[in-house]
Point group: C2
Chain length 226, copies 2
């Protein structure tokens, strides 16, 4: 896998290379680096916040599901049955980061977890923390940067699922009213100009299980086809 | 009790009158009205939100404790062991209100509850809903005014206590750091110019009992003597 050294995001700046010919004809701009291609079972993410004093808080490990065509995060499920907190925290400590970091990982078939990316900022995989945790990733980012003590990352709900609202190729029904009638469901619209594949907002649903929360969030998303 | 017909708040615009002489010499401005003086056991409050379509949500009944000198709300404890939701809702329906209302009540020694005030807006006695409830009084106010369905007012914590930060006569220690270290405690500072008795912010603490939450909030307030 070739990756552009700068300005990559959401799969932009990546090029899969299978042979010498593809290596020579890739379309990436600027300098690139190569990584071994990894066949993974699923993708995980962890939000870690680190203060100036080295104190860290680690949020629950979540599963992230990408849109197979757009390579954009579509769904985040919290929590998971695995704990990548220690490796995620070690990564932030290794770079001496301060503030909120989103750490993305691959979980392999043998259970091994490999770090894929460190995002040095509040991260899409942590939007669920607004409603689901004692302190959100945004609040803790401000605390970290200002040198205040960090707040608890504990989940206040049994389960939470975040679904991104991506601009549709063919916009359809937009019925905020029906979306808001779904229990424990919170709609965030960013007020951006709709464009196919663009992140226009997100929905977080809480529930007693991730299945219940997922069902609620997906149901809400069906009413928000921007 | 004489009350000014306009612009009264936080005890301003009230004058206790014990005899004909005091009635003739009161200092209230503009036209006034008279109410029978009520000797109450404690003060309660309820947030009610009503939509254009008449749908209502009623938050838990809370106890409000006033500063005896300043006549300003000092502490709000949620929930209480009594339910004034029905009378509060009936009051908002009687005036055909839309949006968030704070309804203040007196609880008498015989258990009777008398409405003292209807505040047609998000109210100090509902600030606890930001952290303690599924939907805050502010969020539901916006939903009501925009004609969206109202969100659940259910408490997400067992107990919550809000303590107002009132400007001190003699400002003392201000140590946000120590306040934020107290568990399940949220500090809101409004960025206002400090003045004795002025509402400069508030603290909400959650807990498994109101006693625990009260202890946390009061401990935090001791570090915020603005």
């Amino acid at each position: 896998m070739l990756k552009a050294r700068r300005d990559g995001y959401d799969g932009h700046g990546n090029a899969l290379v299978n042979n010498q010919h593809e290596l020579e004809s890739h379309q990436l701009k600027g300098s690139v680096y190569a990584e071994q291609f990894v066949s993974f079972e699923r993708e995980l993410a962890v939000i870690v916040v680190r203060g100036h004093d080295g104190a860290c808080v680690t949020y629950p490990t979540v599963e992230t599901r990408q849109d197979p065509r757009l390579h954009i995060c579509r769904t985040v499920l919290a929590p998971t049955d695995v704990d990548a907190g220690a490796i995620a925290r070690a990564a932030v400590e290794a770079v001496g980061g301060v503030g909120t970091f989103g750490i993305e990982l691959f979980q392999l078939a043998d259970g091994q977890m490999l770090i894929n990316e460190l995002a040095p900022r509040p991260h899409n995989s942590g939007h669920y923390t607004i409603e689901a945790c004692s302190t959100s990733q945004f609040s803790n980012h401000v605390r970290a940067v200002l040198g205040y003590p960090l707040g608890s990352p504990a989940m206040r709900a049994k389960a939470a699922v975040m679904v991104n609202i991506l601009g549709a190729d063919q916009p359809g029904a937009v019925d905020v009213d029906r979306a808001l009638r779904i229990p424990e469901t919170y709609v965030h619209l960013y007020g951006k100009e709709p464009r196919p594949g663009r992140k226009l907002g997100h929905i977080t649903s809480l529930g007693s299980t991730t299945d219940e929360a997922l069902q609620r969030a997906q149901q809400a998303a069906e009413h928000l086809r921007l």
